[in-house]
Symmetry: C2
Subunit: 195 residues, 2 copies
């Protein structure tokens, strides 16, 4: 169990800047708390938006949940499978690294308010959150990349897994639903870090 980390599976979601929030929810002060997430201070909001492809032949992803709190920049984290299906550009990036990433239209289905994001659509990289204590225990430093080994009939190795270390983090290996399905992983499964 020494080098095992628990799997946390992320569905698609949206982070909003204060300016974009104001444009989409002109009658609200802030997001409405729905439930806490595994990382301290982060929460799922009640509010959802439609993510509309800017491609003439593209499709819309309806009801994508917003996560709080509000951030300096808006960011839409989708899966490769839905980018392909809906014709949305989404490069694989670390959270916050959105320069030159994909564009999309966000629509609040309850009031019709819209925002065009010129950039901000990414497919999130695989990453592990470490507290300072866990990072010391595993012998990793912030922004190091490691591999993760998965057992089973759909087992294998995921490369290019980014380590993020902060006193605000709790130990969690974040992958999206595409990765979870391909490796047959469920929330809370334990997998092995390969340094």
């Amino acid at each position: 169990m020494e080098n095992k980390v628990p799997v946390g599976i992320s569905a698609h979601h949206i982070h909003l800047s204060k300016a974009d929030f104001n444009a989409l929810f002109p009658n609200q002060e802030d997001l409405t708390h729905f439930k806490d997430l595994s990382q301290p201070g982060q929460y799922a909001a009640v509010e959802k938006l439609d993510v509309v492809s800017l491609d003439p032949k593209g499709k819309t992803i309806s009801g994508v949940r917003i996560l709080g709190p509000l951030r300096p920049e808006s960011q839409v984290e989708l899966m490769r499978s839905e980018c392909t299906k809906c014709k949305i550009v989404g490069p694989v990036r670390s959270s916050g690294d959105t320069k030159g990433s994909g564009a999309v239209k966000l629509v609040n289905p309850l009031n019709g308010c819209e925002v065009i994001l010129e950039e901000g659509v990414i497919v999130a990289d695989r990453h592990i959150h470490f507290s300072l204590e866990d990072a010391a225990k595993f012998g990793v430093v912030d922004r190091q990349t490691v591999s993760v080994k998965v057992e089973g009939r759909k087992g294998g190795i995921m490369n290019e897994v980014l380590c993020r270390v902060s006193s605000k983090f709790a130990l969690d290996f974040h992958i999206d639903v595409d990765d979870a399905s391909a490796f047959d992983l469920k929330q809370g499964d334990l997998v092995e870090i390969v340094l």
Copy 2:
């Protein structure tokens, strides 16, 4: 390029026995050819069926294409992601290994005819088709398992990849849409076999 194989991405699909075909298409002699597939003699049919979960809280996957020709046993090949979403049991199995696999109802949306499959629902294993010549070139034998290495930001290794060797096969690494999305692979991409 010596040990590279081209990727072939399989969407969900259905194989039907003659008995199940007759029950679902009582006014037809056989499937209607739509287009040839990469494996010689295999084709996509015009006909599609709805795959209905037997779970009271389950969902239906509409318009799943049938592949021809008809086979001794019916088999429904789904992805882990849709099994989870629709509450359908689908163990990871090799094609043909359906004993004790998942159950489902098949419905022909054009005439309302139905068939309950007591077993036959699987998530197909990752596998490579080899001609006799390609198997000799790569140094693999029928039913051997190998690993496959993928480069890139979503790269890594897929284990438990079954080798199938036949004079009827053409070289092709078959994965489903979940695997293709997780490893950011497109149809025809070349990946490396690791023995």
